[in-house]
């Protein structure tokens, strides 16, 4: 439903988005990750047709967003960053205005408004001025605007930014639910969100895609993914290290901490490590306090493949 081909955007000499290509199908929720300034918002602005790309093209439901702007825009719902709204309107007035612009009228409009208001839990503030809304309600009002015409494609720029944990949970559930019959792209830098709501995630850094896969696939790229963390009681690091050396299936062992007679170590397996490890522990009579296989954390993947601000080459 969304096809992005070789999308490039430069602002003067600065390359904001560099040769981005990906596609999102119906039923997919794509998480768009990246550090601040990686080009997430710029990409989304080009996908929605707000910014013209320097190069490359975007099609939405088969319509080029530059060549056939009205046709493609009719099929997109967009929540811009920071949820901009006309401050002089009431929540209902604003939503009605958006529904009018979307070409809805009569009973279809009323139903669409009712549904959007319900889905975003806006009843309590319906006749309040947009100006006086809390950040959570602001975001949800703008989200309601994006879904009022029941679009096939949703582009959400940081939809959970500034929400409290309960609201975040609700919005994520909403995204997941709508994702069943829509194509959704949403950007975030909260990684747990990706696991909670996305079927696929793309990490971009300095305008380029640096990772693309399901959240589980991405997690296996974490530096510690697949390692075994073992906590022992009653055995010192020195003895443990010596005994572990005999294990064939072990690549490497390192100490995480050793306090109060409790030793925590990280084991990098070469092959299936657990049977051999457990047998050894039984023989040596080690008391296992805890044992778990690290599935990898998106946090670590994110940190290992994107550069922090401080290590970026400065912009010329």
């Amino acid at each position: 439903m969304i096809t992005v081909e070789k999308l490039t955007k430069s602002f003067g000499p600065k390359l904001a988005v560099d040769n981005l290509s990906f596609s999102v199908e119906k039923g997919e929720v794509l998480g768009f990750l990246g550090p601040n300034g990686a080009g997430k918002s710029t990409s989304m602005r080009m996908i929605t047709g707000f910014l013209a790309p320097t190069d490359g093209k975007v099609t939405v439901c088969g319509f080029d967003v530059i060549e056939q702007p009205l046709k493609s825009r009719r099929r997109i719902g967009y929540l811009p960053e920071n949820a901009p709204m006309y401050s002089d309107m009431s929540v209902f007035g604003f939503l009605r205005f958006c529904a009018d612009l979307r070409g809805l009228s009569g009973s279809a409009k009323h139903q669409a408004l009712d549904r959007a208001v319900q889905r975003c839990f806006l009843e309590p503030v319906l006749h309040q001025s947009v100006d006086t809304l809390s950040k959570g309600y602001r975001h949800r009002t703008c989200l309601a605007q994006a879904i009022v015409h029941d679009p096939e494609v949703l582009v959400l720029d940081e939809p959970t930014d500034g929400l409290d944990p309960n609201q975040k949970h609700e919005v994520r559930a909403l995204i997941r639910e709508m994702g069943r019959d829509k194509a959704i792209i949403f950007s975030t830098h909260i990684l747990e969100e990706v696991e909670a709501a996305c079927t696929r995630a793309i990490i971009i850094d300095r305008g380029k895609i640096v990772a693309n896969g399901t959240p589980n696939e991405l997690k296996t790229q974490a530096p510690h993914a697949g390692t075994v963390v073992l906590g022992l009681e009653g055995a010192g690091w020195s003895t443990v290290q010596k005994e572990l050396g005999a294990l064939h299936s072990l690549e490497r062992a390192e100490l995480i901490s050793e306090t109060n007679g409790k030793t925590t170590i990280r084991l990098q397996p070469r092959e299936n490590l657990l049977p051999e490890l457990l047998a050894l522990a039984q023989r040596q009579n080690w008391q296992i306090a805890h044992l778990n296989v690290d599935e990898g954390r998106l946090d670590d993947v994110f940190r290992s493949i994107t550069l922090p601000d401080t290590e970026r080459p400065s912009d010329k």
């Binding site: 967009y78 709204m85 612009l101």
Partner: protein, 243 residues
């Protein structure tokens, strides 16, 4: 058409949902009254026409029209709602026309509220109604021209004050370059083509006919082309922002 009306209605709503509209209308009416009666000596002239009323309009519009129009695009830029508007199924022209027509309609409302002036001359004598209507028409067109200029300046900046000042400067230029005291001065040293050019682009020359009840096609075309030109410039500036 429906889209233009939707945008225009929202824009009009924005005027009337804040005190801006009422403050503006009251000030406009007070000032037109003050200038016509006190400065223009409406009664002392002893003539049943509205010349003393219409003659002040360029000077009032110079400040009041930019005040009405300065927020049109600046506010969209400041709030970021432009991103919302232009990702809706709305063309740039629909948005520009919707906003422009809303403000123009608002100015028309303010202008029509000066009807007591008409009632006064009607009561006091036998004015030429055609002349009065033509005067109103000219005044409305001039307001439209100034508004189109303000539309353009407000699409340049997210700061309403800057947009206001730029617009006042441009409108002032258009007023002064055909204002007799200035043209009388220029005519002494500038070549004839400059004098003609200035008179051609000045609003005073084109507005004058309407006050006398003469609707010249050239004057009509002048005001309409100023409106089209500045709205077109607005569309270019808005597109450039998104390129």
């Amino acid at each position: 058409m429906k889209t233009i009306w939707t945008i225009a209605r929202r824009e009009l709503g924005a005027y009337f949902s804040s005190p801006v509209a009422y403050v503006f209308i009251v000030i406009f009416l007070l000032l037109t009254g003050f200038f016509s009666f006190m400065v223009g000596r409406f009664f002392e002239r002893g003539s049943a026409d509205l010349l003393a009323f219409f003659v002040w309009h360029p000077w009032l519009y110079l400040f009041l029209v930019p005040a009405v129009g300065m927020r049109l695009w600046s506010e969209e830029l400041r709030l970021g709602t432009m991103e919302l508007l232009f990702t809706m199924p709305v063309t740039t022209w629909q948005a520009i026309l919707g906003k422009f027509l809303a403000s123009w309609l608002f100015l028309l409302i303010a202008l029509l509220l000066t009807f007591p002036m008409v009632a006064t001359v009607e009561y006091l004598g036998h004015p030429d109604l055609g002349r009065i209507i033509s005067g109103y028409g000219g005044s409305f067109l001039m307001a439209g021209a100034f508004l189109a200029i303000t539309c353009m300046t407000s699409s340049i900046t997210r700061n309403q004050v800057v947009s206001f000042i730029l617009s006042v400067v441009i409108c002032l230029f258009l007023i002064l370059c055909s204002w007799p005291p200035v043209t009388d001065f220029v005519v002494n040293w500038a070549p004839a083509w400059i004098v003609d050019l200035l008179a051609g682009i000045g609003v005073m020359t084109h507005y004058e006919g309407f006050q006398r009840g003469v609707i010249d096609t050239r004057d009509l075309i002048f005001f309409l082309s100023v409106i089209v030109f500045f709205l077109f410039t607005t569309s270019v500036l808005l597109r450039a922002r998104r390129a």
